[in-house]
Symmetry: C3
Subunit: 508 residues, 3 copies
C-alpha cells in the first residue's frame, strides 16, 4: 500500500509545525549571568522556559531592526544599556527598582519580585498604553470598588450563616477572595514585611507580599500600576504562540459567566482550529490571514495585527480589547453599549447604583459609547470577518447578534419583573431594610438568568458558535427554565401568604 | 544526557505529522481564474483555504484514475468540461445555475451563492444519495413540521410573558430560530429580493437571502435540495482530515441533549486520540485500521470506509449515519428503534402525535425498524469494534448498552408517570385546554430527565465512555435528582390543593 | 514575505515532535509469533498498536541495560526465558497461567484473557508494589463494601419507584453498576462458564467472564489481584506518552465529583500544556524538568520521576498517588487528611459509619494520617513546584489551599446543619426508620454541596486553576445557591407543617 508523499511537504512541515526557532542566542548581560548561575540550579524550569523565549534569543537592537510591519517593540526610549543584550532576569527584575515597594537587596542587586506592565513598557510602550485603556486593566477596581458587586461577591465567596429570618453571609477573607473572583480580576499586592529565609545559597532576606502569587489582568502592582502582562504572555517564555492560542483565554473565560472558550471550541472556527492548528503559524508578525492561519483564534479577532498576503493591513494590533467591540454582552443584568471609561466605578444609573443599566433595562447612556461608536467598532471587527466571508454572510451574522442581544434582554426583563414582584409582595427581601439583592434562593435564580444563561446565548450568537451553547448547554432552554421556576415559586409563596392570612382570620 | 534518536523517525515524522501535501497544483479553469483575480484580494482567507484543498490540487480526471479502493469520487457522469481542471470557484458556484433561485449575473457569469448537495453530487453522487437517506438531511423538516416539537421549541426559544395563570410564550422570530435550534438543524433559505452594493469592484447587484448564513445539516437550499455538505466538509478546504476529527462533530453534538463529543473525549478512545493523534493519518483513503489510525474517531465508526492492513474491507463508507445504528438514543422521550424513513414527520403514535413512542414508552412500531434490522446494523457496527477488540469484549459492551437503554427508559417512565399524575391532579395544565406539555417548571424538570440526563447515560454507555457522563456529569445522579424534585414538588402541590379545600370548607 | 528559518529547527522538530521512535524491532518469541499469525488478521488494531509499543521494540535485557536513572523495569527476578524477546502476546497472556481462573486451552497454550497487575509485576515489580498501597487499587472494595456508599450508589444507579410516602429505589443490576460507578472503580470479574464459539479459525472454547470488559483502577482480577494497569497504560501500546498526558486521567476525573482534568485544562499549567505540548517530550525517562517539559501534567506532580538538567532527582517515581498528597479533597462530606490504609472500609467514625469524619466535620483521626505526615507529603509535592516557582509563590499557593479546605468545610457544615434540622423536624426522613440519607430531593441538594461544588472549589484552589471552577462553574456560586435553596425549602416545609397543625386544630 503506497501513499503519495510529495517532498514539498518536507520543508513545509519544518516551517509550519511549531514555528519554534532556536537561533543563536543573544548575549547575556553580566547581571543576568549572575542570576542564571544560581537560579538555573534552584529553578531549572524558569530558566529553561526563558531560554526558549524570544527574550533570550534576540536583543532589543535586533528586534528594532526589522521592517516596521514586523516590529514587536514599540518603546521609543529604550535605554542604550539594554540594547545589546538579551532580555534576561536582571533586565526586568531590576528595572525601575526605586518604583517597586518589593525591591530588596539581593546579592548586591536591587531586585523586585513582581514585574509590572510599567516595567514591560520600556520596550512595549504602545501595548502598555493601550492596555491601560482596556477595561481588563481595571478588573480589580471595577469589582472591589462597586458596592453592588461587592454585595454579589459576598453572597458567593462569603460564608453563610442560617438565621431565623434567612441566610446571612460573612464577607470572605482575603485568601478566599484571591482564590475566587480576584484570581482572574487580579489581587491588590501589598508588602507586609520582610523575612529571612535559609536558602541553598545561605540566609537571605526577602519581602513578604500579600496577595501573591497572582497573575490576574487587573492586578494592582507594587509600583502602583494595574495589570499583569503575564496573564496572557505566560512567564518566562512570553510566547506569542501561547498568547494567540485560545487555551490562554480559557483560563478566565470558560465558566458560564463568560463562556468564550467553550463557545469558540464548539464553533466552526474552533473545529477548524482544533483539527488543523498543527499546520498553522502562530508566531509570525504581522499575522498573514490565509497564509499563516486559515481560521481565527480569539487573538485574531480581538487583538492581533493582521494583514493579507500582499501585506495590506486588515486590522492593527490593539491591547484595548474593546476597540473592536461595541456591545458588552456579559457580566451585567442587561447587555449594553461598552462603557466609555475602563473605570466602571464611575457609572451611576438612575437608581444611583454603579450599574450601566437600570433594573428595567434602560441604559445609563452618558457613561456608555454612542450608537455611532458602536458602528465604528463593528466596522473594525468586520474587516477581519470579511477576509474570509462575503458581505451578505457578515451582515447576516451581525443582524442575528443584534437580534439576540435585544431578545435576550427582553427575557431577562421578564425575569426581573418577576423578581421585582417578589420584592414588592415581600416574598423576598431585596434591598429593603438594608437587605441584599443576592442572598435568597429566588434572587439567585434571577441572577442565573442574566449572569449565566443570557451570557451563553449571546456568546454563541456572537461567535456563530455551536448551537448547543445557545440552547441546551446553559442557553435558552435554561433561561426559560429559570423563569418557569421563578413563576412556580411565586405561586407557592402567594399561596403561603394567602393561607397565612386566612388562618389568622380563622384563628381570630 | 543523550537520547536515542533513530533516523527512521525522520521520514516518519514527515509522513505522519499532518498528512498535508502540497503537490503541483492542478490547472485552473479560465472562469475560476477570473474569480481568483478579484477574490484573492477581497477574500484572501477563502482563497488561501481553497488553495490548500484537494479540490485545488487534483483534477476529477486524476481523482478518478486511482485504484477503486482509494476513490473519493463517485460521480458517474461528470461533464467532460470539468475533468481537466481543478475544482475551483466557478466549477461549484456556477454549477446548475438554472436550478438555484439565488443565481445572479456577476461579471458575465451566472453565479449562485449557496452551493448545495445537488451541486456536489456531480462528483460525489453516492455520498449525496446516501445523505438523502440520512435522518440529518431532514433535520429542518423533522423539527419545523412536527407540531409537538414546535411547541417545545416555542417554550425554549420564544419570549415568555407572565400572566395570572402562568407563563405564555410568544413564538421566536426567524433570526432567533436561525440562531438557536436551526443553527444545527438548518434554516430554510429564501431569496427575498436583490440589492445593489457599492463594492471595491464598483456597484454590483446581489441577491438578498433570508436564513443566510447557515450550514446546518438539514438546510433547505435554493435549488430545493436539503442538506449542507459544508456542515462537516468545511469550506473552502473541504478537508477530509477535518471531517474525520471529532471536533467537527462537536459543533452540534456537545450539549447535554446530544453529548457525543464530550463523552467521546472522556472515553478511552478519546484519551488515546487526544494523546497520539499527531502520529495518525487522517487523510488516507481507505482508512487502514491499525496502520493509519490506532483508535477510532466518530467518523471511523459511523461513516468512513475502513480496511485492514491487507486491504480487506471492514466497513464501506456510508453517509447515511444510521446504517450502523439500530437504536435512537436521544432527543425523544424514550430510546427507540431507528425510524424507517428519514422523514419522521410521518410517524404517528397511538395518541396521534408525531412521536415514535407513546407516553407510556410503547413504540409506534410500524414506523420503526425491526429487531432483525437492529441486529443487522449492529453486526455492521461490530465489525469495526472487532478490528481491535475480541468477541467477548464486544459482546459484553453491547449487552451493557442494551441494559442501559432498557433501564434508562424505565426511569424516564417513572418520571413520566409522576408528570401524568400532576396533569391528572391539575397541578399542571399539560395539554388540557390547548395547553402545552412544556411551559411549566415541573414539565421542564420532566423534559430534563429524557432530553438531558437519559441521553448522557446512554451516550456514555454506547461509547464505553467516561463513567462521569453516566453518573455525576449530567448522568444518573441528576436523573434521579430530577425525579426526586418532581416527587417533592408533587407533595407541596398536593398540600396546597388540600389546604385550599380545607380553607374553603372552613370559610363557608 | 520572508520568514527567518534557522536550520537548527530542522533537527529539533524531528526530535521533539512526537518522541515516537521506530527502532529495529526486538525478536519475537515463537509463542508470540503463533499468536500474531492469526490475530494480525482477526484483530489488526490490537497488533498494530502493540507493534508501536516499547514492548515490541525492546527486550527486557535491553531495557535493563540502560543507566539506573533511565530504567523502566524494576523486576528483580525476571525469568531468563523472557529476557531475549520482545514482550508480546504470549509473554503476558500465558504468564502465571495457573493463577488465573480464566485460563483456557487455546491452540495448545494456556491463555488467560485478563492480564493483571500481578502479571505486569514480573517486570514492573516496584510499581505494582506501590500501586497496591494506592487507594485506587481498592476502589472497588472501598465502594462496594461501605454500607453508606452502597446506599448512595443505590439512590443514583437504582431504579426509582414512586410510593405514597416517597421514592424507593431498587438496587441497580450488575450491568448498570458496571456501566456506572464501577466503570472507573473497577468491576469484580468472575468466570461464569465456558462457551464454544464458531470463529474464523474454527470452533473454539472460551471462558465467559462476568464484569468484562472493564479497565477500572480497582478491578478485582481473576487471579485475586486488584487493579488494572491498562486503566492508564492503555492497551496494547502501553505508551508512557499516553499515561503522562492529562487526557488519560480525564477518563475518570472530569465530572463535577472529581473535576481534575477540567480544572487543569483551565489552569495556567493547562494553557501552556495545550498550547505547546507539540514541542515537549513525553517519553523520556527520567523526565527532565525544563528540558523535556516546561510545564507539568498530572503525572509530573503526582507520579513521575523528575530530575533537573544536571540529573539531580527532584522526585522519585511513585505509583502510590497519595505519596505527595496530604489532604483528600473530594468524594466525602468534608475534606480530611488522607486515610492511613488504602482500604477505607476499615474506617469507623463516632457514629459507627465507615466515614473519615462525623457529620459535624470532626475527623476519625486514628484512621487518618497525622499533621506531621501531611507536612512531609506536602514537602515532597513542593519539590516539584519549586523547580519552576520561588519559595514565596509556592508558600502563598499552599496557604490559599489550606484556607480553601477550611472555608469550604465550613460552608458544607452549614449545609449539613440545615439538613440535620430538616431530619430533626421530620421534613425529611434521613436514617430514621431504616431510611436513607440520599433518597429525597433535599438530601440530594445537600449532597450537591459536598459531592459536587466543594470539590470543584478545592480542585481549583489545589491547581491554582481557572477561577471559573472555583466560582461560577460548579463552584462557590453554586455551593451558596444550594444552601439558599435548602433554606428556602425549609421555610416552605415549616409553613406546611404549621398549617397542617392549624388546620387540624380548626377542623376539630
Amino acid at each position: 500500500m503506497q501513499k503519495p508523499i510529495i517532498v514539498a511537504s518536507f520543508v513545509l512541515v519544518l516551517i509550519m509545525s511549531t514555528g519554534f526557532v532556536l537561533a543563536g542566542d543573544a548575549p547575556v548581560s553580566d547581571e543576568t549571568q549572575e542570576c542564571l548561575d544560581c537560579h538555573s540550579l534552584f529553578h531549572p524550569g524558569i530558566v529553561a522556559d526563558w531560554q526558549r523565549s524570544r527574550h533570550a534569543r534576540t536583543t532589543p537592537k535586533e528586534a528594532l531592526s526589522v521592517e516596521e510591519d514586523q516590529k514587536r517593540l514599540t518603546g521609543k526610549q529604550i535605554p542604550e544599556g539594554l540594547m545589546e543584550n538579551s532580555v534576561g532576569c536582571a533586565e526586568c527584575h531590576t528595572a525601575r527598582s526605586a518604583n517597586h515597594k518589593d525591591t530588596f537587596e539581593h546579592n548586591g542587586y536591587d531586585v523586585h519580585v513582581v514585574v509590572s506592565p510599567d516595567d514591560c513598557a520600556t520596550c512595549h510602550a504602545t501595548e502598555r498604553e493601550q492596555f491601560s485603556e482596556n477595561i481588563m486593566s481595571m478588573a480589580e477596581k471595577n469589582l472591589s470598588e462597586n458596592s453592588l458587586y461587592q454585595d454579589l461577591q459576598r453572597t458567593i465567596l462569603g460564608t453563610p450563616h442560617s438565621g431565623a429570618d434567612g441566610l446571612h453571609f460573612t464577607p470572605a477573607n482575603d485568601m478566599t477572595r484571591a482564590d475566587g473572583c480576584f484570581y482572574c480580576h487580579g489581587t491588590k499586592l501589598q508588602v507586609s514585611g520582610t523575612e529571612t529565609r535559609d536558602t541553598d545559597a545561605g540566609e537571605l532576606d526577602f519581602p513578604v507580599i500579600e496577595g501573591w502569587p497572582n497573575q490576574g489582568v487587573g492586578r494592582v502592582n507594587l509600583d502602583g500600576s494595574r495589570g499583569s502582562c503575564s496573564a496572557c504572555h505566560t512567564r518566562h517564555r512570553f510566547s506569542i504562540e501561547v498568547a494567540r492560542k485560545p487555551y490562554t483565554c480559557k483560563e478566565c473565560h470558560v465558566g458560564p459567566d463568560v463562556p468564550a472558550f467553550k463557545v469558540y471550541s464548539a464553533s466552526k472556527h474552533g473545529a477548524i482550529f482544533s483539527s488543523t492548528q498543527a499546520g498553522m503559524n502562530f508566531t509570525h508578525v504581522p499575522w498573514v490571514i490565509g497564509e499563516d492561519i486559515q481560521v481565527p483564534t480569539c487573538a485574531t479577532c480581538h487583538i492581533s495585527k493582521t494583514v493579507n498576503a500582499d501585506g495590506d493591513v486588515i486590522n492593527n494590533r490593539t491591547h484595548k480589547v474593546t476597540d473592536r467591540l461595541g456591545w458588552r454582552i456579559f457580566g451585567l443584568i442587561y447587555a449594553h453599549p461598552q462603557p466609555i471609561s475602563p473605570d466602571t466605578t464611575r457609572i451611576k444609573n438612575k437608581m444611583g447604583l454603579q450599574l450601566p443599566t437600570d433594573l428595567d433595562g434602560s441604559a445609563a447612556t452618558e457613561f456608555l459609547i454612542s450608537s455611532k461608536e458602536i458602528g465604528s467598532r463593528r466596522t473594525t471587527m468586520k474587516r477581519t470577518c470579511l477576509a474570509c466571508h462575503d458581505t451578505s454572510w457578515v451582515r447576516g451574522h451581525f443582524e442575528r447578534l443584534d437580534n439576540t442581544i435585544a431578545v435576550s434582554n427582553q427575557s431577562v426583563r421578564v425575569a426581573t419583573q418577576l423578581m421585582e414582584s417578589a420584592w414588592t409582595n415581600r416574598y423576598a427581601q431585596g434591598l429593603m431594610g438594608g437587605g441584599s439583592l443576592f442572598d435568597e434562593y429566588i434572587e439567585r435564580r434571577w441572577s442565573d438568568t442574566w449572569l449565566l444563561y443570557a451570557n451563553n446565548i449571546r456568546f454563541a450568537s456572537a461567535m456563530a458558535g455551536g448551537g448547543d451553547y445557545g440552547v441546551f448547554e446553559d442557553g435558552r432552554y435554561h433561561l426559560a427554565k429559570s423563569i418557569m421556576e421563578m413563576k412556580d415559586w411565586m405561586k407557592t409563596r402567594a399561596f403561603m401568604q394567602q393561607q397565612k392570612k386566612i388562618s389568622s382570620e380563622l384563628l381570630k
